[in-house]
């Protein structure tokens, strides 16, 4: 329906271009810009909703109603907050390493948007179906560490520095099991391309049932990668004040905030794609299935956040290297043997 309409529109526009002899690269640039804009709008809308959802869930978990005053059910709360944050003074500490300080939020934010290039929203609705889909996502996720290190270092604050060092250690440790868990799926599907992975799940069953261990490892590691409780050590507010973003305020701080939720959403949608068959599902339109599955993981992450206390930094390392990594390796080997047989 919508997808077909867009495709036919594209074809007619292309025909117009050819008929008039206009350069085709203009069309390519135009479509690219439109795709980027579409992805950005999708992320921003979702993040606005996610922040509201987080507050509502945390509120109800804690017997509070959450935001209520701004709009119906407080739905406009995030907008009000965004406005407030944008109007705040932009403070750059006197001792800060200015350029690095300014660049850090961007280095964090841009990859979290770029992940969405490969996420399939529905049948054929994907900004770019890269053949290295998963690798692309993993590579982009690795930008988070330098950005946090940059933020922590440039703030010229001891708490920030400690937060940055923690985050570097944490993200490096959990990237390995994360990728190993993803590889289990790749081995089953025989491709790094996300659309192939969904197709493989349509052929058999959701990989959640074939890769339960891989799924658990993926989920834990993804929580750690997106800095959510119980793994929110880089910004542990009761220990490190606010960790790497202690000195950030106003707009720059909000970019970090945005990144955090964009990462959460990316993690959830990737989990839905890898383990729950992405957009495929009966009765409902594919896009709706995609949203339902993504938000299922989002809810799970929020539920965990508002229940568990924070883990300690050495225990985090233990969990990552001594438990998740071996488990993920064994899982991968078993999967490989299984596939070969």
């Amino acid at each position: 329906m919508l997808v077909d309409w867009v495709a036919s529109l594209y074809q007619s526009v292309q025909a117009t271009f050819v008929a008039h002899g206009w350069p085709l690269w203009v069309l390519a640039v135009l479509t690219a810009v439109l795709k980027v804009a579409g992805v950005l709008v999708w992320i921003l809308l979702n993040v606005l909703f996610l922040i509201w959802l987080e507050r509502k869930i945390s509120g109800h978990v804690q017997n509070r109603p959450g935001p209520v005053y701004t709009g119906r059910f407080g739905l406009l709360q995030t907008l009000a907050d965004a406005l407030k944050v944008l109007l705040k003074e932009d403070v750059i500490p006197a001792g800060a390493d200015r350029w690095v300080f300014v660049l850090a939020p961007l280095v964090a934010f841009v990859p979290s948007v770029m992940i969405w290039v490969v996420i399939p929203f529905s049948r054929g609705v994907q900004a770019q179906d890269l053949n290295i889909g998963i690798l692309y996502v993993a590579a982009l996720a690795s930008f988070t560490v330098p950005s946090l290190l940059m933020a922590g270092w440039s703030s010229d604050n001891k708490w920030s520095l400690m937060g940055a060092l923690r985050s570097a250690a944490q993200l490096i440790s959990y990237e390995v099991p994360l990728i190993l868990a993803e590889l289990g799926v790749v081995v089953l599907a025989g491709s790094l391309r996300l659309s192939d992975i969904i197709a493989a799940q349509q052929r058999s069953v959701w990989f959640l049932f074939l890769q339960p261990v891989g799924f658990v490892v993926y989920f834990i590691a993804a929580l750690a990668e997106s800095n959510r409780t119980p793994f929110d050590l880089p910004e542990a507010e009761s220990e490190l004040v606010a960790g790497f973003n202690t000195e950030y305020s106003g707009f720059r701080w909000s970019i970090f905030f945005l990144t955090e939720y964009a990462n959460l959403l990316g993690m959830a949608s990737l989990a839905a794609t890898l383990f729950l068959g992405g957009w495929s599902g009966p009765f409902l339109p594919p896009f709706v299935w995609f949203v339902i599955k993504t938000y299922f993981f989002v809810f799970l992450a929020m539920w965990i956040r508002w229940t568990l206390p924070r883990i300690r930094v050495d225990q985090l390392m233990d969990l990552g290297w001594k438990f998740l990594l071996p488990v993920a390796l064994v899982n991968l080997v078993v999967t490989g043997v299984f596939v070969v047989l």
Binding site: D97, N131, A139, P146, L149, M150, W153
Partner: protein, 181 residues
Amino acid sequence: MNTTLLAFFIVAFISLVAAWRVITDPSILHAGLWMGLSFVGVAGIFLLLEAEFLAGVQVLVYVGAITTIILFGIMLSDVGEVRVGPEPPGWVQAGAAWHRGLRHAFPLLVAAGFAGTMLGLYTQSGWGQLRERPLELAGLSVGGIGRELFSTFALPFEIASLVLLAALLGAIVLAMREEER
């Protein structure tokens, strides 16, 4: 000029400038960050060569791991800027003017020499024969790379992993010594 070539020049320029700044930036942390940018530029070149897998691995390994660990090390080691100490020895003072003059020229010379050597090696090498099997080696197929690694390049691959293993063991030994005290 086609778009790919234009993109190549942009990416190459970025990585070269970044590489130059790695050597000349007085702040060692900034140098580390420039290095990260240079790696990203190299990944861009891989991408232009349609070696997406290599580009992904380049970012994952070099930006995600190497740069991070270097930055990590810099932050832990309390080296803010590389600069001349409070009382440099006489020969340093005498050569200070030279130093200032060479500060930008010397790295360029080194880089030019290195580039010349590498170019020479590249032209001498028998890379022509690899063109016979371009698809696998260009990384269009991940499976192809895997097959090549475990057949044609099995020995180098294993040797490389041995080196990594040695490094890993070394790291463990060093850490153990730290713990004992």
